[in-house]
């Protein structure tokens, strides 16, 4: 067999495998969205790839019933995720800027600590975290899900990688000569330069916070304060919409719509950012 023919054959097989794996990724999500528009009898009769007309009906069921209010949980998650994202990005850039720009003695120690915590995150000590929040009287509040965002090692690591590539020291010197304060230099000179990187960080912080199940699950017991993943878990376990499976699927669809929409619009930033964050050693 000639080299060219063989290459083409291999290419064909590779494409088939790729398409198969791509279908594994897409089809379940597609079915989820389709089922959100179908009625319970339709869903019970089997899988379909064409949408139906029961979206409004399912929406009505979702709004009216259940011990857990999905829309309130959606709001809770949004509040937490937005606050978390803003704090994460700002403080990660602040920390990374310090490591990158200043030559203080403990710089290496701080950076090693960041590296260590990237590999072994504080999440492994979740019980200790729970007790600490309990001691602060923060159980059943949103603080434990927002305030720790001042110290997110993975974001600091990413910000450091990013600043390394875009920071212009001459501008910082110029700022100093012009009498700008150090914090002012960071806000007015550095941050505008770093906006694309901050944007990528923001997406990751948002998605991480939005999808987090374990920490809110331990911290929050009041169902009024339940986050979206907790609401989904309650719906699944409690069979809240047992008779209306369409509404159940719609609930699931609502929980992932924001992320899917953001991903479709910004996938280049996200995939590129993921690659940029971790490669260099």
């Amino acid at each position: 067999m000639s080299y060219k023919l063989l290459t083409n054959l291999v290419r064909l097989i590779v494409y088939i495998i790729m398409i198969f794996i791509a279908l594994l990724c897409i089809v379940p999500i597609y079915i989820l969205f389709i089922n959100a528009t179908r009625s319970t009898p339709q869903i019970n009769s089997g899988i379909s790839f064409l949408p139906s007309t029961f979206l409004a009906f399912n929406w009505g069921v979702l709004g009216s019933s259940g011990s857990v209010n999905l829309f309130r949980s959606f709001g809770n998650s949004a509040i937490i995720a937005f606050s978390n994202t803003i704090i994460t990005v700002y403080f990660a850039v602040l920390t990374a800027y310090a490591i990158e720009v200043y030559n203080f003695k403990l710089k290496k120690v701080v950076y090693s600590l960041v590296m260590l915590l990237v590999m072994i995150p504080g999440q492994v000590a979740v019980i200790g975290f729970y007790m600490q929040m309990s001691a602060f009287g923060w159980l059943n509040t949103f603080y434990p899900l927002i305030i720790p965002a001042i110290a997110v090692p993975t974001s600091v690591f990413f910000a450091k990688q990013y600043l390394e590539s875009c920071l212009v020291k001459e501008l910082i010197h110029a700022g100093r000569i012009d009498g700008c304060s150090e914090l002012g230099i960071m806000h007015k000179i550095m941050m505008p330069i770093a906006i694309p990187g901050m944007f990528t960080m923001a997406i990751f912080a948002f998605v991480g916070s939005w999808n987090n199940f374990f920490t809110p699950f331990l911290i929050i017991t009041d169902q009024k304060k339940a986050t979206l993943p907790m609401a989904v878990q309650i719906i699944v376990n409690g069979n809240t919409y047992n008779r209306e499976i369409g509404a159940f699927y719609l609930g699931l669809a609502i929980s992932i719509v924001p992320v899917v929409v953001v991903y479709i619009c910004l996938s280049k930033f996200i995939v590129g950012g993921m690659a940029m964050g971790a490669v260099k050693e």
Partner: protein, 333 residues
């Protein structure tokens, strides 16, 4: 950085401490102190009833209770089992796909699109993923309906009552959620390898397999190390999918067949009891912490032992390759 290096400890550089202060405080308050606190409380009879209670140090009693708990001991093995079943295909398939994606010979089209699709599952809420698969595979769910409609089976299969199937499903979902991330990381590592190495290897008559094992794999070591360690640490913390996949308020499966360490810990020490025995929970947390840390350290040690002799060989090989490629080019021109 081309700018002149300023003497350490200069006045301006003190700002560094101010800028990193929030981060350090955050790490101390929300990570390091809790670890220490958990360690201390694991030797006491602490509960969540009163925080000013007189703590009594009770030695290793909590650890004896935790390690005497059969389901907790089993969960350590279960966690490893699920991690290994999902991680080997994750790394293998990701390596294969990223090698194809970066292959000069195949020159695939739509690589960006495929990569985007493969990465997507990782961003989805694992609670939703678990709920979705729970309903897909329920007794009267769509999968059973489809199989019956197709005439493949006459009676619905009780997927959720089949432990081996459910373990496989949990491992599959872990793979599904994470293989895209591994592909993106490995591809970034592969594209950063200089193409001249492959060119010279081609001149030397190396085939695709040889290039993959002799050039790509050794040079991917840093990325592989990162993937391995983060995946291992994450795998030991596995919680969301095994906790929720079964539905019906039975986290970890009917017989606990896919109950990971965190699931058992949460179930035993955090579900329902109004008085939580935080001493016991801390001891369980410490065991999980220790298992994770020891595994990560062993992994790092293994990867580092191999590194020294390999990197020497690598340098030699690169030198030779370079020389030969120059020679080759000289001959060609």
């Amino acid at each position: 950085m081309k700018t002149k290096k300023i003497r350490q400890g200069g006045k301006i550089d003190r700002w560094g401490y101010i800028f990193v202060a929030p981060f350090i405080i955050g790490i101390l308050v929300f990570t390091l102190y809790p670890v220490g606190d958990m360690f201390f409380k694991s030797f006491t009879n602490a509960t969540n009833r009163a925080f000013n209670q007189e703590l009594e140090v009770i030695g290793f009693a909590n650890y004896q209770t935790v390690l005497g708990n059969q389901s907790f001991i089993t969960s350590i093995g279960t966690t490893w089992k699920i991690w290994i079943i999902s991680f080997i295909p994750q790394l293998g398939i990701a390596l294969m796909i990223s090698a194809w994606f970066t292959s000069v010979r195949l020159r695939l089209k739509c690589v960006g699109l495929f990569r985007t699709v493969f990465y997507m599952p990782n961003l989805l809420m694992s609670a939703t993923v678990a709920a979705l698969y729970t309903t897909l595979f329920s007794n009267l769910g769509p999968i059973n309906r489809m199989l019956i409609n197709l005439g493949l089976i006459t009676e619905p299969i009780f997927f959720r009552d089949t432990p081996s199937f459910m373990v496989g499903l949990v491992a599959y979902l872990q793979w599904w959620l994470w293989f895209g991330v591994t592909i993106v990381l490995l591809m970034a590592g592969m594209t950063s390898i200089s193409p001249s190495l492959y060119e010279s290897a081609t001149v030397d008559g190396a085939n695709g397999g040889q290039m993959f094992f002799k050039i790509t794999l050794p040079l991917l070591r840093p990325v592989m190390l990162y993937v391995l360690v983060t995946s291992l640490v994450g795998g030991m913390q596995m919680m969301d999918i095994p906790y929720m996949i079964n539905g019906e308020n039975r986290p970890g499966g009917r017989m606990g067949e896919f109950a990971t360490m965190n699931v058992v810990m949460t179930n035993t020490y955090f579900n329902g009891n109004s008085t939580r025995n935080l001493g016991l929970a801390s001891a369980a947390g410490m065991v999980i912490f220790a298992v994770t840390l020891v595994a990560a350290l062993i992994l790092l040690a293994i990867m580092n032992i191999g590194k020294d002799d390999d990197s020497k060989l690598e340098k030699k090989r690169l030198k030779r390759l370079n020389k030969e490629s120059k020679l080759g080019k000289a001959v060609l021109s």
